[in-house]
């Protein structure tokens, strides 16, 4: 019997680590939805660009790890500001056009990715090798570090949204944009910032995933599928909801995978989502 206990323990641990990565990706999406009221389809591609960024900075140009992260952070913030200004702002208010535009954006980044990065799978050696084992559970150090940084990033986001003036402005816009504008909040500036932070979160998530998985320009699709799942279950626009749902999906997939097999686990996660949709259409903590 203890074999299964050990397995579940291991599955739980890996599930939490993977869950934190899912949270990072989905958080960017939720933040952008909360403020700009669109689900950004190109989010998966930003995650991919983050991962590719690490490959080119760290592996090709031999930048130190810290410098690589800073470069990726800056580039993703700039990209976020640019995309918001060029695509999202002109279409402000037209929900249908905004979502379809983000689909177009996703296709462009992906196809340019295939052309620019070529078809060979890229790999980034782990920054931290080795395995940490305790209580029969073996966890690769690289994932532990990535998860730890993930937790820090989530903490920073909470601080930004709930502790700063800008965060207050963001929450005001999320409640009621018209009133917020009347109170003198420059909604456009805050929206641009939210989009930039959203992009940065996705890119950093990509950066931390780079050494764990192998990279190709199409990796954004899995990330966006998983993020959709998570924000449906967690509740659109709710940061806490996304964090809970991300961890839940990570653990469910991992423990489910251990007990029932990877395929059944994938199906299980979808069934949970359909149930949540039926019982609480707005998701666990979402506002319909």
């Amino acid at each position: 019997m203890d074999v299964y206990l050990h397995l579940i323990g291991q599955g739980l641990a890996i599930g939490l680590l993977t869950g934190i990565l899912y949270v990072l990706i989905a958080l960017g999406l939720t933040l952008i939805y909360g403020i700009l009221h669109i689900v950004n389809f190109a989010h998966g591609e930003i995650y991919m660009l983050g991962a590719m960024g690490v490959f080119y900075c760290y592996v090709v140009f031999k930048l130190p790890f810290a410098a690589t992260l800073v470069v990726i952070l800056l580039l993703s913030l700039l990209l976020g500001l640019g995309v918001e200004r060029a695509f999202f702002r002109p279409l402000r208010g037209q929900w249908l056009q905004l979502v379809v535009a983000s689909v177009g954006l996703s296709l462009i980044i992906q196809s340019l990715g295939w052309i620019a990065f070529g078809i060979q799978e890229k790999n980034v050696p782990s920054f931290f090798t080795g395995v940490v084992a305790f209580g029969g559970v073996r966890l690769p150090t690289q994932r532990l570090i990535a998860a730890a940084v993930g937790v820090v990033l989530v903490g920073l986001l909470y601080a930004l949204v709930y502790r700063t003036k800008v965060g207050l402005a963001m929450r005001a816009i999320e409640e009621d944009e018209e009133t917020a504008r009347m109170l003198g909040i420059d909604a456009d500036r805050v929206a641009a910032l939210a989009c930039a932070v959203g992009f940065a979160l996705a890119a950093l998530a990509g950066a931390f995933v780079a050494p764990i998985y192998s990279l190709n320009p199409g990796m954004g699709l899995e990330a966006i599928l998983m993020s959709f799942l998570i924000i449906i279950v967690g509740g659109l626009g709710s940061i806490t909801g996304t964090v809970l749902a991300g961890l839940l999906v990570g653990v469910l997939q991992s423990v489910g995978g251990v007990l029932l097999g990877a395929e059944a686990a994938y199906g299980l996660v979808f069934i949970v989502m359909i149930v949540v949709l039926v019982v609480r259409p707005a998701g666990l903590l979402g506002k319909a």
């Binding site: 979502v99 379809v100 535009a101 954006l105 462009i108 359909i274 259409p281």
Partner: protein, 324 residues
Amino acid sequence: MKRGLLGLLIAALVLLPPLGKPYVLHVVIVILINVVYAQALYVIMRMGYLSFGHAGYIALGGYTSALLVTKLAITPWIGFLAGGVVAGIFAWALGAVTLKLRGIYFSLSVFAFAEVVNAAFRAFEVFGGPAGIAGVPRPALLGTRLNTHLQFYYVVLAVALVSLFFLYRLQWTRFGFTLLALRTRETERLAESLGINAARYKTLAFVVSCFFCGLMGAVHVHYLRFVSPFVFTFFLSNDLMIYVMVGGLGSYWGPMLGTVLLTGLGEQLFAAGYYKSLVYAVVLLVVILALPGGLISLPRILRRGGARERVLPVAADVTAARER
């Protein structure tokens, strides 16, 4: 003027094919199939609803017909109808639950549904698992099995013309006209106060849309003589959405225009997949930003000198009193 043009087009579609080479027929078949998918998707997009999972209903229709024909030896003609009906039933079931949701919630839930449908087809052997179902026969007519491109072309044309006529006329019925009243949350509340049961109308619209997707999906599978979970994927839902948006939501002819242009363009870029999606995406963004009404609004804009007219299908028959 428009009646004449339409008559000419249909005559060409019926009379010209015998002269065309098989490849030209193949391209026209693919365009006709995509046009019906796009027009079916248009029924709910015109109502302000965006679906990322229509490929799921197309797959349902295709698999239903493939299974009925290969496992129970039912004639494909029944298989086509069954494909539409089954897709309609699933649409009614999901619609009742998700159509209360607005905006992105609905789109995501339909998307999730399509992923579950595909995962189910892949997981269970009874649906043929990942290999799918091969050897799906073409329908037979008066004893001959319609295997050549020309023969099956007329099957596709027949189903397409019937579907497009039905979807066109639907707009001028009270049902089609009422769907326009449900575009936003406020107008929906106003419609409710006028005695319109918004939920029932939206679900019916979703059922009609998915019925035609299922029907044409079945025809598509019999054309390929094969179906697998990798044929009707998320990318097909994407492409259909792009065809409708590029063509334009303002008029019935918009999605048709978008589909013909982009499928035709897509055929030229056969050498590399990502060039095709790059071109689709660039055209999409150019149209969305510079031409919100879609390509169909171009003639009106050019004639009027830039007046951005809100182009929405007017119930011409219902307002016959209005001469224009």
